[in-house]
């Protein structure tokens, strides 16, 4: 179980780091879609839900919350950048990646404290 959860965190972190880099370097095609779509539609919410609302045992509850939170973060982050006249796709993706990574790291810290 622990290995599974660590693997999930690893996938989340890898995709969160890869998506902004891929977009910044102008990678096109299905690979870009496959890597960037999770970051804008699932990962930040998933990381936050895993951190703050444990335990959710229904997969679809987790997915629904993760999608809703991720999309809400898309709105807030992109709109903030537009109003601040600093709109950049890579910038917003970077923000989403930071949220995702921070929540994932925070979760590991919390889990480690609990098991210690």
């Amino acid at each position: 179980m622990k290995i599974e959860r660590d693997a999930a965190s690893l996938v989340i972190v890898t995709l969160a780091v890869a998506a902004p880099i891929m977009v910044a370097f102008g990678v096109a095609g299905p690979l870009r879609t496959a890597v960037a779509l999770p970051l804008v539609s699932l990962l930040p919410g998933l990381a936050l839900v895993r951190l703050a609302l444990r335990p959710i045992e229904h997969l679809n509850s987790t997915v629904v919350l993760a999608i809703a939170v991720s999309l809400a973060l898309d709105v807030v982050a992109s709109l903030a950048m537009v109003y601040l006249h600093t709109w950049s796709v890579v910038g917003v993706l970077g923000l989403l990646a930071v949220v995702t990574l921070s929540a994932t790291v925070a979760r590991h810290v919390v889990m480690r404290r609990r098991t210690a």
Binding site: V40, A72, V92
Partner: protein
């Protein structure tokens, strides 16, 4: 006081699915085949749709194998809902594709002008990186569009593909969220699946295209789910009994004080933050939905089933803050948000929807009949729940709460539709009880119920297709009209006015901030051809840069079907445009013509 949230946390051993039987597998394969037959048949439906009752009249006979077979399989699987979770999930997916996909398959182009327009708003924000709230109301609630720009730019997905498949994706997203919401309302799996099924069949309201309201509706469902589960509460005494024993005020206080929260303080706090975040995203994205959410949350609080009485207030403050800042430009031109005479609201919501040709009237009647049927089934279901002493008021309160929005604003004549959508998850839930009269734990096939579910399912599917795609004659575009829409930007002189016959025109997906108008905007139904053409000419002269005039088949059909302009008048106006000095026919195909009126002649 702590307890687990009943809807979202369940012992792990219950989360598994019983092994799927051979019969279940067979039914699954049959459902996939029926869906394949239906979608393949839908892709052969002729476009343009040449029937006043819309797509339903031109779908090949083979298409109907889909909804009918799916209805029967669903009715057969329903009594053993706990065992057939995978099959029921598959059936729901097949139903979405079968009912929400035919127009996509038939036309292979996004329906509805407004979906194209939304692509133009996204394009404007992405290109400029700024928001000018003076452009129009959309730029006062730009959250969905900026996020849409982010998603499209980041993923490289084509805007066309996103708009084309949005109805199917949005419906899938709504249903996934509804699954979680309904789980908080009942343990009866038959009711859960039947609710989702009826939601699909009753949702003719056509708000599932690429739009802020579709996005906001998803957030609305998730917010209500959180309010009922982690932020939920349960009074320990009955209000009636409490008031009877202690008097109105003390009794009510005692009832209020007896509420216990559904979850731990830590998770309540986290859930509150999530609800506020979702509310913020909703408030900056859509004008109406936050009011429906606030009304629904207030209803939950008033019946003692939400632990956070301050939640509507927090959302209300964010709404006011946004109206004062982000939407202040809109408010300056529209000072009164919510003050409409009841007669005006009724006229806009109902009376105006009854205008039009005879085919269009059939569609309108089917829409009303479908809505009334769902509400009647909900009334029967409510009576059955009462008979079974199910005292949970939440579904009734949440079905009724959106009705409070009805008298306050016409919302462009669409409030009745929007209220129906906000109520639908709960009317569908109550309606599901009309078919599940036996107690939860009773199992086994009831032939009468199975027959009723399959028959009502097939009938509602037919009505839903008629209602949803009833305007297909004019809101489903041909490839010729789409080509003409693209050509318009190539042939129009710089800064020229872009003028179309009516609003169903596939345009504004780029160069959104140019000047656009239509004959529908310029003329009144009472105007004759000469009067309408004079208005067109005056508008072109006023602009001073000439005009590119796009007149299409869907324009003409729209004006005719809605009783706004006779085809003869439309043809006469086109003749006058052609005869205008200097006007040239620069593009022509089977479905559309483009005329360019140069600036000089327009000024003459």
């Amino acid at each position: 006081m702590t307890s687990t949230a009943p809807a979202l946390v369940r012992p792990r051993q219950l989360a598994g699915v019983a092994p799927t039987s051979v019969a279940g597998l067979g039914l699954g394969v049959l459902a996939l085949l029926a869906t394949a037959v239906a979608t393949s048949a839908a892709s052969r439906a002729p476009v343009p749709v040449l029937s006043d009752v819309g797509l339903v009249a031109v779908l090949p006979a083979a298409y109907w194998a889909g909804p009918i077979t799916l209805s029967i399989i669903f009715a057969l699987a329903l009594p053993e809902a706990a065992r057939h979770r995978s099959l029921l999930t598959l059936l729901l997916g097949c139903l979405v594709l079968t009912l929400y996909g035919p127009a996509v398959m038939a036309a292979n182009a996004p329906r509805l002008e407004v979906a194209w327009r939304h692509l133009g708003i996204i394009d404007t924000i992405v290109r400029s990186g700024t928001i000018n709230p003076k452009i129009d109301a959309y730029f006062n609630w730009p959250g969905f569009f900026s996020a849409g720009g982010l998603v499209l730019e980041a993923t490289g997905l084509s805007p066309w593909t996103a708009a084309l498949w949005a109805p199917v994706w949005n419906m899938a997203l709504w249903l996934t969220a509804l699954m979680v919401l309904i789980r908080g309302l009942t343990k009866d799996k038959r009711v859960r699946w039947l609710t989702l099924w009826l939601f699909c069949l009753g949702n003719w309201i056509d708000q599932d295209y690429l739009s802020p309201q579709a996005f906001a509706f998803f957030l609305h469902i998730v917010m209500l789910t959180l309010a009922m589960t982690w932020l939920g509460a349960q009074p320990q005494v009955r209000l009636g009994a409490s008031v009877e024993g202690a008097g109105v005020l003390p009794g009510t206080r005692r009832w209020w004080a007896s509420r216990v929260p559904a979850d731990t303080e830590k998770r309540r706090t986290a859930a509150l933050f999530v609800v506020v975040l979702l509310g913020l995203a909703m408030i900056v994205s859509h004008q109406l939905t936050p009011f429906a959410t606030i009304v629904s949350l207030t209803a939950l609080i008033l019946i003692g089933r939400c632990w956070s009485p301050g939640l509507p207030l927090i959302l209300g403050v964010i709404v006011v803050a946004w109206l004062s800042y982000g939407a202040s430009a809109y408010l300056a031109g529209h000072p009164v948000l919510f003050a409409v005479e009841p007669e005006v609201a009724a006229g806009a919501n109902l009376g105006e929807r009854l205008d039009g040709g005879s085919g269009h009237l059939v569609v309108v009647v089917v829409r009303m009949a479908l809505t009334v049927t769902i509400w009647c089934l909900a009334a029967v279901g409510t009576l059955r729940r009462l008979r079974r002493r199910e005292r949970d008021l939440r579904p009734v309160a949440l079905a009724a709460a959106p009705l409070l929005l009805l008298p306050v604003q016409s919302y462009g004549g669409e409030m009745l539709l929007r209220v129906n959508l906000f109520a639908l998850p709960f009317t569908a839930f109550l309606a599901a009880h009309a078919f599940t009269g036996r107690p939860i734990r009773t199992r086994g096939t009831d032939l009468g119920t199975t027959a009723a579910v399959s028959l009502v399912g097939a009938l509602l599917a037919t009505a839903m297709l008629t209602a949803k795609f009833g305007n297909a004659r004019f809101d489903t575009f041909t490839q010729g009209e789409i080509a003409a829409g693209a050509e318009l930007y190539r042939v129009a002189p710089p800064n020229a006015l872009l003028l179309a016959g009516a609003h169903p025109t596939p345009w504004r997906y780029h160069e959104y901030t140019r000047k656009y108008t239509t004959l529908q905007d310029l003329c009144r139904p009472s105007d004759n051809a000469d009067g309408c053409f004079e208005k067109l000419r005056a508008r072109v002269r006023h602009g001073g840069n000439g005009a590119a005039v796009l007149l299409s088949r869907s324009n003409e059909e729209s004006l005719r079907l809605q009783g706004l302009m006779a085809p003869e008048t439309f043809d006469r106006i086109e003749g006058m445009v052609r005869a205008e000095g200097g006007a040239q026919l620069v593009y022509n195909n089977a479905d559309a013509r483009i005329y360019v009126i140069p600036p000089k002649q327009a000024k003459r």
